[in-house]
């Protein structure tokens, strides 16, 4: 059942990304190009998503637990540290460079364009590299 919910969620998420233009790198880059011809569409997506989820989140969290699980898995970490900031800086550099972030990249892979495949494969490598590095830093043998 959880798998079915995940499948449905992924499907709706992808449709939302597609119709809002987020699977097209030039629209994402256009939003970040504030000194050029600014494209407001990414801001529209954020507003739509945060309005809906901002309200729904508060209603859902009135429940003791989610429908299919014993507890909510919500991040409790609250410190602003170097790891958070440097991670965001590095992510932003890559995001602006190609105009793709993880979700739209995965969805756009279905277009068959090899560019998205290059992006996702190297993204997986980047993720794995950090995970291995992290294991070394935080769990010395």
């Amino acid at each position: 059942m959880k798998a079915a919910i995940s499948l449905l969620t992924g499907f709706i998420f992808a449709i939302g990304l597609g119709i809002s233009g987020m699977t097209q790198p030039h629209i994402v880059k256009g939003f970040l190009d504030i000194f050029g011809q600014w494209d407001p569409r990414l801001m529209g997506v954020m507003i739509g998503a945060i309005l809906v989820h901002g309200i729904a989140y508060r209603i859902i969290l009135k429940r003791k637990s989610p429908v299919l699980d014993t507890r909510f898995h919500i991040p409790v970490e609250s410190s602003i540290d170097k790891r958070l900031i440097f991670g965001a800086v590095i992510f932003g550099l890559g995001w602006g460079w190609a105009g793709i972030c993880p979700g739209p990249g995965i969805v756009a892979m279905t277009s068959g364009r090899p560019e998205f495949l290059y992006f996702i494969l190297s993204m997986l490598v980047g993720m794995k590299v950090f995970q291995l590095l992290e294991a070394r830093i935080f769990k010395p043998s």
Binding site: G48, L51, I90, W97, A98, F116, F119, S122, G126, F130
Partner: protein, 136 residues
């Protein structure tokens, strides 16, 4: 505007995930969890990615214009960008979905700082790209 409607769909999707599975829909975190050999909860993650694929395949037919790729970026640019995005999102614990949508909706201070930071660094990156390539 169509982008606000698309955003609302994304808001509905992440709300369904929270209501039923109790999970935050952060895509980099979901993918990172699949890559982690110690993860015990791969199943829902894999089905979420499968849902993204199915959505993408439907878009190809429902809204073919959503799959247009217009950019001066070369294959090497996509590889470089992918490496940075992968490394940075796992280091910073989230991307546009986890921090930008889910975190900001919770008013999480970490997510607000993260989102402002990656937007700023994205702006710098686009300017750098334009300077080197003469366009987007």
């Amino acid at each position: 505007m169509q982008s606000i409607f698309g955003g609302a769909l994304i808001g509905i999707a992440v709300s369904i995930m929270l209501l039923f599975n109790g999970r935050v829909t952060g895509i980099s975190g979901i993918v990172g969890g699949i890559l982690n050999p110690n993860a015990l909860d791969r199943n829902w993650r894999i089905f979420f990615i499968l849902g993204l694929f199915l959505g993408g395949l439907s878009l190809k037919y429902l809204a073919p214009s959503s799959m247009i790729l217009e950019s001066l970026a070369t294959p090497n640019d996509y590889i470089l960008a992918g490496l940075l995005v992968g490394f940075g999102t796992i280091m910073g614990n989230g991307c546009t979905s986890g921090h930008g949508v889910c975190g900001i909706s919770r008013f999480s201070k970490r997510s607000i700082i993260s989102t402002l930071t990656f937007i700023l660094s994205g702006i710098v990156s686009v300017q750098l790209f334009k300077l080197l390539r003469g366009g987007l």
